[in-house]
């Protein structure tokens, strides 16, 4: 019996220590760095200032943040538009088809995402496949400028992140019982009412998860902007990377990172709220 107590205590201790060292402490360190003073020779000098946040929300930097947020929002919207019908079809398909399709969605992940981004450049360049097909179809008579544009960055992000939208949407739609819809219809609910009062609240957590899994990486994947955008488009990720690995302004980079964390926490709160709605009272299934 004593050995068991030891096992339990050891495991609990290991869990707590691991989570503290790798989950909590690093985030606190970044928070600490974000309020430190910048230093030209070392990475930062300890102290307390909100100057980095002020600098971050100042003209130039705020512009980077804002345009990156806009871009990522567009990517999220496109992914949602593409993924929702796909996930809905998937949830309705037969067992076998469903498994095959799910595996097909996952397989591209086994190729490193940088490689997939690089594959996009092969498609999009002046003499790439897209231009050739359009040319062959007679739709264009001079090659389009596709590579090194914001559009290419959006396409690249949608391409890498689409499965992250499909999977949670599928999971949510799969759990949704179609009999609920029928029941509501039988009780005289209209199409819109069914969608708004029955389906949306139940599928919402899945939608939010998908949006988080696309929106947040969409702010951070600096290599997509580098490879497809010709180093002209700056994501928050490029900004943070540059502060840490090029201009060495750790406090400013840490402030930007903290901002990302705060965005994430807001989204998480929305997620928890949407889940709680399901488990409480009137939406209980």
């Amino acid at each position: 019996m004593r050995r068991d107590g030891l096992f339990r205590r050891l495991v609990i201790a290991a869990t707590v220590v691991w989570m503290a060292v790798f989950g909590v402490v690093p985030n606190l360190l970044v928070l600490g760095a974000s309020v430190s003073h910048p230093s030209p020779t070392t990475f930062l000098s300890p102290g307390f200032t909100l100057g980095n946040y002020a600098l971050l929300l100042d003209g130039i930097h705020a512009q980077i943040l804002f345009s990156s947020l806009k871009l990522s929002a567009a990517v999220t919207a496109i992914c949602f538009g593409l993924a929702y019908p796909f996930a809905a079809l998937l949830a309705r398909a037969g067992r076998r088809t469903r498994h095959v399709l799910l595996v097909l969605v996952v397989i591209p992940f086994w190729t490193n995402s940088l490689v997939r981004t690089y594959a996009m450049t092969v498609l999009l360049n002046t003499s790439g496949l897209v231009n050739r097909v359009l040319f062959a179809l007679g739709l264009i008579d001079a090659p389009l400028t596709l590579l090194y544009t914001t559009g290419a960055v959006v396409a690249g992000l949608v391409y890498t992140l689409l499965p992250f939208m499909i999977l949670p949407l599928y999971a949510a739609l799969d759990r949704f019982d179609p009999r609920l819809e029928e029941a509501a219809r039988d009780l005289g609910a209209g199409r819109f009412q069914v969608l708004w009062y029955i389906k949306l609240p139940l599928v919402l957590p899945g939608i939010i998860t998908g949006c988080m899994l696309v929106f947040l990486p969409g702010l951070g994947m600096f290599y997509v902007a580098d490879v497809l955008g010709g180093a002209k488009t700056m994501l928050v990720g490029n900004f943070i990377r540059d502060q840490f690995l090029v201009t060495r302004q750790w406090p400013l980079g840490a402030a930007a990172s903290t901002l990302l964390t705060m965005i994430m926490i807001v989204l998480l709160l929305i997620y928890w709220w949407s889940q709680r709605r399901i488990h409480e009272g009137k939406l209980d299934v």
Binding site: V16, G23, V115, S127, L216, L245, M264
Partner: protein
């Protein structure tokens, strides 16, 4: 209607696969620089064989993926077990932290670990990279396994307890076999995440241990490199094969 649906599914899958297919096709193209088809050739596979830098990096990536997937599966399963089985003060906090870690953007994880490693004075390399990847993967394993543990009937554990099994025995002989499919899924998920990662590797490894994405990053910045196509085709073939085998094994177990 049915046709429309099929076309839509085909379009989405096409979007996911055409770039990869183009890469596979071009890995057999004889031309070095141009996108024109200059005939079938195995040249780039030969070149790849001589490119030790690229091969070492690919091997390193696989090693890191296997090691960190294994470590995060062991730790993640333990943590999931701890959280579902025992009540202790920081339980809820840990559950929430896991979820936050899972959702954190890679870049945030990357720089926060970089700051941690700098503070601890750890030299960047294999060790730090594995720690970073375990940090990335562990929450996923823990949450997948936890889901499974929540699902199963506590009667099994109670019965074992009645028969005199201790905590360790319960874990070893009841919990582990019951959650094995979830654990395997967790391992596969971790392996994928590790292999797919660019951002975290970018910040947490050092010159002595180069992994594939970093190597490729410095190569693609220099334009079209057919060897990359060849390497990726090989890796895609190997991993798809592994997945298919794993999938078959899974199905038989069920």
């Amino acid at each position: 209607m049915k046709w429309l649906r099929r076309i839509y599914i085909a379009m989405v899958l096409g979007f996911l696969y055409i770039p990869l297919a183009v890469m596979v096709v071009y890995s057999f193209n004889a031309s070095r620089f141009s996108m024109d088809w200059k005939g079938f050739s195995g040249e780039w596979y030969l070149q790849l064989w001589n490119n030790t830098g690229l091969l070492t990096a690919a091997l390193n990536s696989l090693v890191v993926a296997v090691v960190s997937a294994t470590l995060s599966t062991v730790l993640g399963t333990l943590i999931a077990f701890t959280l579902t089985r025992w009540r202790f003060p920081s339980r809820r906090v840990i559950g929430a932290t896991l979820f936050v870690m899972m959702m954190s953007p890679d870049i945030v994880i990357a720089i926060s670990l970089l700051v941690l490693f700098m503070l601890l004075g750890l030299p960047l390399g294999f060790g730090t990279l594995v720690l970073a990847h375990v940090t990335l993967c562990l929450p996923f394993v823990a949450i997948v396994v936890q889901g499974k543990l929540h699902g199963f009937d506590p009667v099994f554990i109670e019965a074992a307890r009645d028969l005199g099994a201790g905590d360790f025995a319960v874990f070893r002989y009841i919990v582990v076999p019951l959650v094995t499919p979830a654990v395997l899924a967790g391992w596969l998920l971790s392996f994928t995440l590790s292999l797919d990662d660019v951002v975290i590797s970018f910040f947490t490894t050092g010159p002595t241990f180069e992994v594939l994405p970093l190597r490729i990053y410095s190569m693609v910045r220099l334009g079209f490199k057919p060897e990359i196509n060849a390497l990726c085709t090989i890796m895609m073939a190997i991993t798809s094969l592994a997945v298919i085998i794993a999938y078959r094994v899974f199905k038989e177990e069920k």
